[in-house]
């Protein structure tokens, strides 16, 4: 479950941001996960919970899922990609390194592997809310 590694990144980022912004405690964290990488939401939340430092103790963790939107650079076709139909091996590979999608996926309109992931790639920290010392 490399979701633990991702959770570690989230917690580290939140801690840094809290410190930079002088937050006494963090009240809400919004994490966006991309559909393409199929991050396991439950495990991610569980892992963040386990790793929470004191400053995040009461923080509400909100996980938003961004749909995987791909766009072909050759023909301009845009599509939403649903990884659910993939073979397990392929889905696993993309789970670890989403860029390997270029080895497996093709533009449904022209067949090119030259597409970009417009949205829904990996994991992002969208916002961190909290209370300052003086609040």
């Amino acid at each position: 479950m490399h979701e633990w590694a991702l959770a570690e990144g989230v917690v580290a980022a939140v801690s840094r941001i809290a410190e930079e912004q002088g937050l006494k405690r963090v009240t809400e964290v919004i994490v966006r996960i991309g559909e393409l990488q199929q991050v396991d939401r439950e495990i991610l939340i569980f892992a963040i919970d386990q790793l929470r430092p004191p400053i995040m103790r009461d923080a509400k963790i909100i996980i938003e899922e961004a749909p995987a939107k791909l766009r072909c650079r050759v023909c301009g076709h845009s599509w939403r990609f649903d990884p659910k139909g993939l073979e397990e091996e392929v889905s696993e590979a993309i789970h670890f390194v989403p860029e390997v999608a270029h080895a497996y996926l093709r533009c449904p309109s022209c067949g090119s592997p030259d597409f970009e992931v417009v949205e829904g790639r990996g994991i992002w920290l969208a916002s961190v809310k909290g209370l300052r010392g003086d609040d």
Binding site: H2, L6, G9, F96, E99, A103, D114, G122
Partner: protein, 243 residues
């Protein structure tokens, strides 16, 4: 939006003493055979060593080492399997031999992903096999791992050395650690490259003769270590290694 992956790269690499990029700028000078054989030589000395193949679109180290079927374990990250005593990481686990065209931005993302989720053990050396070119991979490593040490490979050819010169200038401008320059595929030793390297105030690590038997040894780690190539490499880089 903050990329949480960037926060943990340093921590992931904190178990590693030395991170050495085998690079050149130029293609086909032997970076991959040097990087692979160097890892084996280090492992043979009893050191804990890792090898990371960052030439994503044309990976070669798996062919040179003859890595088997094992794949990384998923355990609070990705734990690279060991081959011949070398912790080995490559995109090959996830692409097989499929063509995997990647644009620069994809390369950046894949590098960040791998650096942030790979859980190396305690290593004395992590050897990184670099792609040719002065592009995304080189710039990303310079940006993400300032303590990276660079081992530069050239051939005697003026064409190769001209590119090496550009790489050296780039690294020096950024105050990076250059371990030295290794001259590979030497047919007759002339001293020209040594002269040029030393004139730049850099260490000339030595030369490796062209070894017509190298090709047959590729894919078999034991055979590779028996080649003249490996013997010369061992001598050339011994100054860099603990006894």
């Amino acid at each position: 939006m903050t990329d949480p992956r960037l926060e943990i790269i340093d921590r992931r690499l904190s178990t590693i003493d030395h991170i050495i990029a085998v690079c050149s700028g130029k293609g086909g000078v032997g970076k991959s055979v040097v990087a692979s054989t160097l890892s084996l030589l280090l492992a043979r000395r009893g050191l804990e060593v890792g090898l990371l193949d960052l030439d994503f679109t044309c990976p070669a180290t798996h062919l040179i080492l003859g890595v088997g079927d094992a794949t990384p374990e998923e355990e609070r990250g990705i734990v690279p399997p060991s081959f011949h005593g070398v912790e080995y990481m490559s995109l090959i686990y996830y692409t097989g031999e499929r063509p995997t065209p990647l644009r620069g931005g994809d390369i950046t993302n894949a590098i960040i992903e791998i650096l942030s989720v790979t859980r190396w053990g305690r290593l004395s050396h992590l050897v990184v096999d670099m792609p040719p070119g002065l592009g995304d991979a080189t710039l990303d490593l310079m940006r993400l791992i300032p303590r990276m040490e660079f081992l530069i490979v050239t051939t005697p050819s003026r064409i190769a050395f001209q590119t090496v010169r550009r790489l050296i200038e780039l690294l020096r401008e950024a105050d990076r650690v250059i371990l030295g320059v290794l001259e590979n595929m030497v047919l007759e030793s002339s001293g020209r490259i040594r002269g040029e390297v030393e004139a730049m105030g850099l260490k000339y690590l030595g030369f490796i003769p062209f070894d017509p038997k190298l090709e047959e040894a590729l894919g078999d780690a034991e055979a590779l270590l028996q080649t003249d190539f490996a013997t010369s490499l061992n001598a050339a880089v011994s100054s860099l290694l603990p006894d």
